[in-house]
């Protein structure tokens, strides 16, 4: 059950990253920082302003979207013609900058985010779970469904899918590629921030929390295959459960090693991802 809660947020992280990678061909190393941003935004709205939890998640998403859009417009757009290595280095720079900016702003001490839920666990038959986690899981599921609807039912989503399949043809058909890129990056960053706001109250918020989250997101993307949305969702859930089991049955010290081992194994055995039917060319 805890695995599912983790998995739901991993899936949110993974969906954002897989979209950015698949569509823009940018290896977004700063993805984890948007997750951190979300956690601190939730901390600011919940802990300092005393707002409702849902409002805090929405505020976090707004922060993520806004900063993501700024990032894309100022940094990635001028470099769109450059190679993937160049943008990757820029994103590493953004990552270092954001992380230390957060360190300066909030200090190095981990912050606990207050939440309005009772701490007594709900007991449902054989499982017991904290109400906060149920709520987190429900919100994560809602956000995943919302992203599916956005991508499959709206015009923006259709333009995104067209750009993903063939950028030049999409451009010829009148899709504004620049806008789609900005929207994709902002959307992915918003999802990462939402994941941070959701997991923040479960754990603690600290400046370097994004590093691990970014690695998790990368494992999810690899598990599911690049640019594969259902893959990323399933991959996230799978990784969350696998980690929980790994921590329970092997050793809690190696919990985070599960993700790394999965990355290595999947890349070596099924480089196109676990859930892909045929080779996808990104």
């Amino acid at each position: 059950m805890n695995g599912l809660v983790l998995g739901g947020t991993y899936a949110l992280l993974g969906i954002g990253l897989t979209l950015i990678f698949g569509l823009m061909n940018v290896v977004n190393f700063a993805h984890g920082e948007f997750y951190t941003l979300g956690a601190y935004a939730a901390f600011a709205t919940l802990g300092l302003a005393g707002a409702h939890f849902v409002a805090a998640v929405l505020a976090a998403i707004a922060c993520g979207v806004a900063l993501g859009a700024v990032c894309e417009l100022t940094l990635l757009r001028p470099l769109r013609a450059e190679s993937i290595d160049t943008t990757m280095l820029v994103m590493i720079g953004v990552w270092i900058t954001m992380q230390n900016g957060e360190l300066l702003l909030w200090g190095g001490v981990a912050k606990s985010i207050p939440h309005p839920f009772p701490t007594a666990p709900l007991v449902l038959g054989p499982v017991s779970i904290a109400p906060l986690r149920v709520f987190v899981l429900a919100l994560a599921a809602g956000l995943i469904v919302a992203s599916y609807l956005l991508i499959h039912k709206t015009q923006l989503g259709m333009a995104m899918r067209a750009t993903f399949q063939d950028r030049d043809t999409a451009a010829l058909m009148g899709v504004r590629i620049g806008r789609i890129h900005t929207a994709t990056f902002a959307f992915g960053s918003g999802l990462a921030a939402a994941a941070g706001a959701l997991l923040g109250p479960v754990f603690l918020a600290y400046p370097s929390m994004g590093d691990l989250a970014a690695l998790k997101a990368f494992s999810v993307v690899i598990l599911g295959g690049l640019g594969n949305l259902p893959g990323a969702t399933l991959g996230g859930l799978l990784l969350g459960v696998a980690e929980e089991l790994g921590a329970g049955y092997v050793s809690s010290g190696y919990r985070d090693a599960v993700g790394f081992v999965i990355i290595i194994l999947v890349l070596l055995l099924r480089p196109a991802g676990l859930f892909s039917k045929q080779e996808r060319i990104g």
Binding site: I96, T97, L104, G253, F260, P271
Partner: protein, 311 residues
């Protein structure tokens, strides 16, 4: 460059401990040397074959731990432990090369990150051997016969020789048939393969040499600071190496060394002015600016400027 132009830097490098008064400056130079070896090793992969490894701290750490454990637990001499550290890192490089170089670009990057992550977790959790997060204190300083090389001014020469060896290995390799194969792979892999370049063979070779050099740097680091902890696997080390190579000029021989000097001295200089967080913040901004304005690095930019000034 004229003969005198070459002679002056050599003379400066040889006599440095004599006129560089403060041991603190000497420490910065020694660290720059160790990072110079690391940057050279990363450049071999990133600059010449075009494959970015973000797991180089793993090879550095493996070298440091191998050397520290051999001298501490088995009481081997440094001169035996150093080649063993080089060999252990080289072996790890071979393994990763064999496994991961089927993959390219972002996938390769991710495997190297994951590899470094696993190794770092092992170093934290395998208490019996690595002493976990507490690290291994009291790594002995190397000795040459009855003389200890513990003094900074003496250790400087050891590092200088190591940098020289690493530089010459790179230069020899790059100028050879192998180096041309590397560049051919970087520029157009399909074409290189079609004219008979064995892709896997050369990429694995690059990975092994690069990892072995990083291992040498790790061993030198362990016996210099005389303390090894899981911190040697920190991702920031890898990022520092990447910045040094890219800023200095990837695919050039002098670039990584210039990058290492600048980016070891710069944080030290910044430290005098501001706090640590601001220093890292400035570092990140600087990296973004560098990619924007000097995408090919300092050394190629200088070369272009010189060519433009004196046609």
């Amino acid at each position: 460059m004229t003969r005198a132009g070459r002679f002056v830097p050599v003379l400066l490098a040889l006599t440095l401990p004599l006129w560089l008064g403060s041991p603190y400056f000497l420490h910065v130079v020694i660290m720059a040397g160790i990072f110079g070896i690391l940057a050279l090793s990363l450049n071999l992969l990133l600059g010449y074959t075009g494959q970015l490894s973000l797991g180089h701290a793993a090879f550095f750490g493996i070298g440091a731990y191998t050397s520290a454990l051999l001298t501490l637990r088995l009481e081997w001499s440094f001169w035996l432990a150093l080649p063993c550290a080089v060999a252990a890192s080289g072996l790890a490089g071979w393994l990763i090369g064999r496994l991961a170089l089927k993959l390219r670009g972002a996938y390769f990057v991710l495997v190297t990150i994951s590899f470094a992550g696993v190794i770092a977790l092992v170093s934290v959790n395998w208490m019996d051997v690595t002493n976990g997060p507490l690290g291994l204190p009291g790594v002995p300083a190397p000795a040459l016969g009855p003389w200890s090389l513990r003094a900074k001014s003496v250790y400087y020469y050891l590092v200088l020789v190591a940098v020289l060896i690493a530089y010459l290995v790179c230069r020899r390799l790059v100028a050879s048939r192998i180096g041309r194969a590397f560049v051919a792979l970087r520029e157009n892999e399909a074409l290189a393969e079609s004219v008979g370049v064995d892709v896997t063979h050369y990429l694995v070779l690059a990975a092994v040499v690069s990892a072995a050099m990083a291992g040498m740097a790790g061993s030198l680091y362990a016996h210099y600071t005389r303390f090894v902890s899981p911190e040697v696997f920190l991702f920031s080390y890898t990022v520092t190496m990447v910045i040094m190579v890219v800023a200095g000029g990837k695919g050039t021989l002098a670039g990584p060394l210039v990058g290492a000097l600048i980016f070891t001295a710069l944080p030290e200089a910044l430290r005098a002015v501001t706090s640590w967080q601001w220093q890292m913040l400035a570092y990140g901004v600087l990296l973004v600016l560098l990619v924007f304005f000097l995408p090919r690095g300092i050394v190629p930019a200088l070369a272009a400027w010189r060519a433009w000034k004196a046609p």
